[in-house]
């Protein structure tokens, strides 16, 4: 039992070309910057937008296939969809909203109301059954939207940025609840998000998308430890270099050769944590094999840390303490030397 989809479509400036496979029991997060095509992919899987070529198969049954011109309309797909702004029907009360999917599939009024009531109980909102969506808070609406999507017991649950509409304080609490509900759901779960924290918290596997294409896929730990795109590197907050490896060093773009322990051969990524990058005013002597001149182009204070962006042959971000910054007497535009140990460079195949 799984979801298999291969979709190619063009929507305005976006050229989508993606293949995904999600096994039963997996919670997959689609992660990527705005405009990557995550929501478009979700809507294509749901059957809401036509695509140029490809197919969608759920549990072995073909829902859509351009080669055979097969198309199962959205309303006949066993899916549950939670939109970014929930889209609870404003003219129906909470109970009728949750019961909508049941009633649409033919369940008689009484049975549907009862089942809907059970779901409301499960999300802790039974007392709000007769309220209108406008009377609920953002977090409550999110729970109703989830209950509404789950009530008809779909095989595939699609969530589009489920926490994006919430403020930061509500988000953490709702995320915990959402995780709980996702865990208890039996079918296939696909969550779209641009928030890495959300992705890591909710998912077993991440699929990273950029400009309509797959960039990286894997368990959250693997993705964050071994980013394969600048986007993920930025999300995680590490330095990412790419180049040709050979005998303990990596030749990166621009010609610089970085000493890296474990760099054998082939195309590789090299990741360096900003904390491992040291800043000096004068060229340092001693053990670090990687020493490069540069200019501090941007200095940012983040709580009790300082991030310094250094431009040069090997552009990197270094992280120091505020006191260290004072000792260096460094201002933006100042000339510096950076250094890091070869053992602090993580290398893995590209």
């Amino acid at each position: 039992m799984s979801l298999e989809a291969s979709i190619r479509l063009t929507l305005g400036p976006l050229n989508l070309d993606m293949e995904i496979t999600i096994a039963e029991g997996e919670v997959v997060a689609l992660l990527g910057p705005n405009g990557a095509g995550k929501t478009t992919l979700l809507r294509a899987v749901a059957g809401l937008i036509p695509f140029e070529s490809g197919f969608v198969r759920l549990d072995g049954k073909v829902l859509e296939d351009t080669s055979t011109n097969k198309y199962v309309p959205t309303e006949r797909r066993p899916i549950g969809l939670v939109f970014q702004d929930y889209l609870l029907f404003p003219h129906l009360d909470v109970l009728d909203n949750v019961a909508f999917g049941l009633r649409s599939r033919g369940m008689p009024r009484g049975a549907a109301a009862e089942k809907a009531g059970e779901w409301l109980e499960r999300v802790g909102l039974r007392s709000y059954a007769r309220a209108k969506p406008s009377e609920l808070s953002g977090g409550q609406r999110q729970r109703v939207a989830l209950a509404r999507a789950l009530a008809p017991e779909p095989r595939l649950l699609l969530l589009d940025e489920p926490l994006a509409a919430l403020d930061v304080t509500t988000r953490a609490e709702v995320r915990r609840d959402l995780k709980r509900h996702l865990m208890s759901f039996q079918g296939i779960r696909l969550v779209v998000t641009h928030d890495p924290l959300e992705a890591v918290a909710l998912a077993d596997r991440l699929i990273v998308m950029e400009s309509g294409r797959l960039v990286q896929t894997g368990a959250p730990a693997e993705v964050t430890e071994r980013p394969r795109s600048q986007y993920v590197a930025d999300l995680v907050g590490v330095n990412l270099l790419r180049g040709e490896a050979g005998n303990g060093s990596v030749q990166v773009a621009g010609g610089a050769v970085v000493s890296a322990a474990g760099a054998e051969s082939g195309e590789v990524f090299a990741v360096i944590h900003p904390r491992a990058v040291a800043i000096h005013r004068i060229r340092p002597e001693g053990s670090p094999r990687n020493v490069w001149p540069g200019r501090a182009s941007h200095i940012e204070l983040l709580g009790n840390r300082v991030r310094v962006r250094i431009e040069g042959q090997v552009p990197l971000v270094a992280e120091v303490t505020p006191s260290a910054l004072r000792e260096l007497d460094l201002i933006e535009g100042g000339e510096v030397w950076l250094s890091f140990k070869a053992t602090d460079v993580g290398v893995y195949p590209a």
Binding site: L48, P73, E75, R77, L81, F83, F89, F100, S104, P152
Partner: protein, 260 residues
């Protein structure tokens, strides 16, 4: 609380504009013979005209809904070549002088009309001089209001609600009746009321296409026009009644029909 003063350049024309509409109403109120009001209003011809007017205008609104909502839906949702032309044709009666509309109806549905002649020869049905003819004339002039209002409502609604309903398994009909219609209910209501009000006041197309006979085709506006020649003061009272009905309707709608 500090209130910003309205510039005089705005106040003066606005006041003149308001007076332009208020004075006729005042004129009617002042000149109407209130003592004879009850007699005038309860005269059998008046009641007959009133009954006919209500029957015809409500029927015209019903026809407008049945035919107009699908048209509005097509204009708002379906792209096809010639759509703009079709939309212009079906809203033409709004700018056409009503008598012209009546003539056009005669040429299409009159005894020698394009379609009317076929009706007459095949079924012996003639539409002019009948109450059905009145309904047709009123529908012709009033339906465009309904179409435009409903179309605007359909365009401005968030279509993702329909997607949400589809994702929950609702068939297209169910989506339309349980989600779309309730969401555009304000526009639907406003459109129907505007259509009804316009149908109630229709004169030119009615008298040209349907003729004038008490109880069959003599609606309130026709009755008022004729009373003007025979019993002026009674015509003032009836005019006032028609004016007040329209006023109540528009006040009731308030701003709802402006934000479709």
């Amino acid at each position: 609380m500090r209130r910003e003063r309205v510039p005089i350049v705005v106040i003066v024309p606005a006041a003149i504009g308001a007076a332009f509409f208020i004075l006729p109403l005042l004129g009617l109120i002042v000149r109407s013979p209130w003592r004879d009001a009850v007699t005038a209003l309860t005269a059998p011809e008046t009641l007959e005209a009133l009954k006919l007017s209500l029957l015809a205008s409500l029927s015209a609104t019903a026809v407008g809904l049945v035919l107009g909502v699908p048209l509005a839906w097509i204009y708002a949702r379906v792209e096809f070549p010639g759509r703009d032309l079709l939309r212009a044709l079906t809203t033409l009666p709004m700018v056409l002088p009503p008598v012209v509309g009546g003539i056009a109806l005669l040429l299409a549905f009159g005894r020698r009309g394009l379609f009317g002649s076929w009706l007459d020869s095949s079924f012996g049905i003639t539409l002019p001089f009948t109450t059905a003819g009145v309904v047709m004339a009123e529908t012709f002039v009033a339906m465009p209001f309904l179409i435009l209002t409903v179309e605007a409502g359909l365009r401005s609604m968030d279509r993702r609600y329909e997607e949400a309903a589809r994702a929950l398994g609702a068939s297209r009909w169910r989506v339309f009746t349980r989600v779309t219609l309730p969401l555009i209910a304000p526009s639907l209501f406003a459109g129907a009321v505007l259509c009804w009000a316009r149908a109630l006041g229709e004169f030119g197309a009615t008298i040209t296409f349907a003729g004038n006979f008490p109880g069959v085709t003599q609606t309130m506006p026709l009755a008022v026009y004729l009373l003007l020649e025979t019993n002026q003061e009674a015509s003032f009272i009836l005019s006032l009644v028609l004016l007040l009905i329209s006023l109540v309707v528009l006040v009731g709608l308030r701003h709802r029909w402006l934000i479709a």
